[in-house]
Symmetry: C2
Subunit: 403 residues, 2 copies
């Protein structure tokens, strides 16, 4: 066939994600361990699922009253409402004043895709986006593809081994966009908060929060997102990607909400109407299963309580693992203080190792973790904790004095 291909100029795209996981999978060593799974693992190394979810899946499948019609473009309204109440608390100022709203989004990136499209059109002056380094790969790509300049930042101070929100003040130019994850881990004082807020306002920085694991930090749903209320009370307008897949264990049904907080209801309706237009072009009608499971649980007090308890159990287990790791390192006499392990909240925290130590673990011990040593602590269990802590000890000893 002599026809020239239409696709002649299309090169093979570079793979962006999963190189660490790929190397892990190709490793034939039986001792190999992967410490960077995105989702929480059970003690048996399976993805964690809230006990209430399988029950709800069954109940939904057996319900003859459900209809399987298309959802409207803005998605499942009861899902959006229940999720916003979860995020802000039922009686929050923005809910009472009717100036918070949300659009049902698809997948882990959906809310960022939608929000970025909006910002590209309606905030032409904001073309630089700062993204926390741990999320640069999935979210950065979204903004990059649309022509934004993407820079990364980290709250983690690898010298002081603690979180530091001052990076926000130092790095951000005027009119930039900031994608912010769990800022409550930074433990700011009242006056530090005030300085931060003033600086953000002064620089006209647009905040795009990323709440993908509400409740997984402290085990307390309200406490985890309390800082959002503070921003609301200070008159900030912002976007927030609220993802609920991780906290229910419905990873296969990536579902979320692009939350919009505006100064008043009129502005909110304008923003939502533009978002709806974009959603229509993106996927028209979002799939329902994830939203249906979550809504059924959130709207039933008994099931909601069961879910909260399962989440609490997960967080207690994370704390226990961290305590054990710290204790084992202490018993091994590993140089350094390991308090930073238990000082950090949530499933994903920094081990506080340097690059040489990480390399040592990967190459000599077949323990796979990212270069910044931010690991998923739920990947550590009774079967592998001794091997992991002994290996960390070896890594630290072998690289002593190399800094």
């Amino acid at each position: 066939m002599t026809t020239l291909s239409v696709f002649l100029d299309v090169p093979l795209a570079q793979k962006l994600e999963g190189s660490l996981l790929k190397t892990y999978k190709q490793d034939s060593c039986p001792k190999k361990i992967f410490l960077a799974f995105r989702v929480c693992q059970t003690s048996k190394g399976q993805p964690w699922v809230s006990s209430v979810v399988p029950k709800m899946r069954l109940q939904i499948a057996q319900d003859p009253s459900l209809n399987y019609e298309y959802l409207p473009v803005n998605g499942m309204r009861s899902f959006t409402e229940a999720s916003l109440k979860l995020l802000f608390g039922k009686h929050n100022q923005v809910i009472v004043e009717n100036r918070v709203g949300g659009v049902h989004t698809v997948g882990d990136n959906g809310a960022f895709q939608l929000g970025a499209q909006f910002l590209k059109i309606w905030r032409k002056d904001s073309q630089t986006v700062f993204i926390m380094s741990s999320k640069k790969e999935p979210y950065g790509l979204v903004f990059q593809d649309m022509g934004f300049t993407v820079r990364e930042y980290s709250f983690w101070d690898s010298k002081q081994l603690c979180m530091d929100a001052n990076v926000l003040l130092k790095q951000a130019p005027h009119d930039s966009i900031f994608v912010i994850g769990n800022i409550c881990d930074c433990n700011l004082t009242q006056s530090q908060w005030a300085t931060l807020m003033a600086s953000l306002k002064n620089k006209r920085i647009f905040l795009f929060f990323d709440i993908s694991s509400q409740g997984l930090s402290t085990g307390d749903l309200e406490k985890d997102t309390g800082f959002l209320q503070y921003f609301v009370s200070q008159g900030f307008e912002f976007f927030c990607s609220q993802s609920l897949s991780k906290t229910f264990g419905i990873y296969d049904e990536g579902v979320g909400i692009l939350v919009v907080v505006a100064l008043n209801n009129e502005l909110l309706l304008c923003v939502l109407s533009q978002l709806m237009k974009l959603t229509q072009a993106l996927w028209l009608n979002p799939p329902i299963t994830g939203a249906r499971i979550i809504t059924s649980i959130l709207c039933n007090p008994a099931l909601q309580e069961e879910w909260k308890q399962s989440l609490k159990g997960l967080v207690e287990n994370i704390m226990l693992i961290k305590e054990k790791v710290k204790e084992k390192l202490r018993l091994l006499g590993t140089p350094g203080s390991w308090d930073h392990i238990t000082d950090q909240n949530g499933s994903h925290s920094y081990l506080g190792l340097n690059i040489q130590q990480v390399e040592y673990l990967v190459r000599k011990k077949h323990i796979y973790l990212p270069k910044n040593s931010r690991i998923n602590f739920t990947c550590i269990n009774a079967h592998n904790i001794d091997y992991i802590t002994q290996s960390i000890n070896e890594a630290v000893l072998s690289t002593k004095g190399l800094d």
Copy 2:
């Protein structure tokens, strides 16, 4: 509060879709009928669902062996494979030669969103898109938002009351993109096909097929998409949006595939790799439920057979409704030939009324249908067929001589 809103310049977006449905809903007349639902209706006016689907939903919810982990970026591989086999037939040339592939997409617009993004980047010369008028609203918006010039066309010849594929030849400028639905309804002769193909090649027109109801035209899955094989055999490269929600009755789980046919495997892999990159930014991991239900049915011969039979039953019912409408109009002595009703395949077909007649039905009879008189015949049932046919008769008589 004196702060100026970030969203100050954002106007309220115009609503694009559903104005007919909205007017219908606001109509308080008890006789009102809506003839333009997107999905097939049962004789009781409920959305049609294949009998095999509820069973499969239950089976999936009860299966303890399933894992709920994230799907990879390219989606569920077994779903893509099973769907491609359905589209092309197991032993088709493109499958054997390994030059067809697909990406699991989300919602009814997902495949067009993904395909349009690709074409925007990799076919910079193709900036005009022709879309069949019945699908202009959902798909046109996708291309329009990305800066393409969108024009509409229709195979329906409202004078001759038949389908005419020659519009493709007349209207299309060089290097344009054509979104094509069910071309097999045009009943082209071998020589007309040959002329059409030569002209498309000569004008370097890129084809983007829309297969959203395979099997619903003739009741025969292979026959409905046979024309795709003809394009393949003639050395065409193309995209195809394959949507399976309508043919299974899983409207709430909008799921599909962006199908790519390339001249060889190497080209295919390049295109798929670029699509994967775009998918990552769009939704990262697609939701699984719709794909899981469909794959479980397609990969089980007994269930597949049950699904095919349910589809056949649906198509037979559509034909029966059309026959009845034609017969009732004949008995009423309605002027004109109504053969075009039964000459057209599928649930959605043209009634062949002019604008005055449509207006008459909407305003005087509370029967809601689009201006081009393309209706969903499954909205007609034993309860409303007499009222509908009598009203059509009145409409035709009352506007006689107005043309």
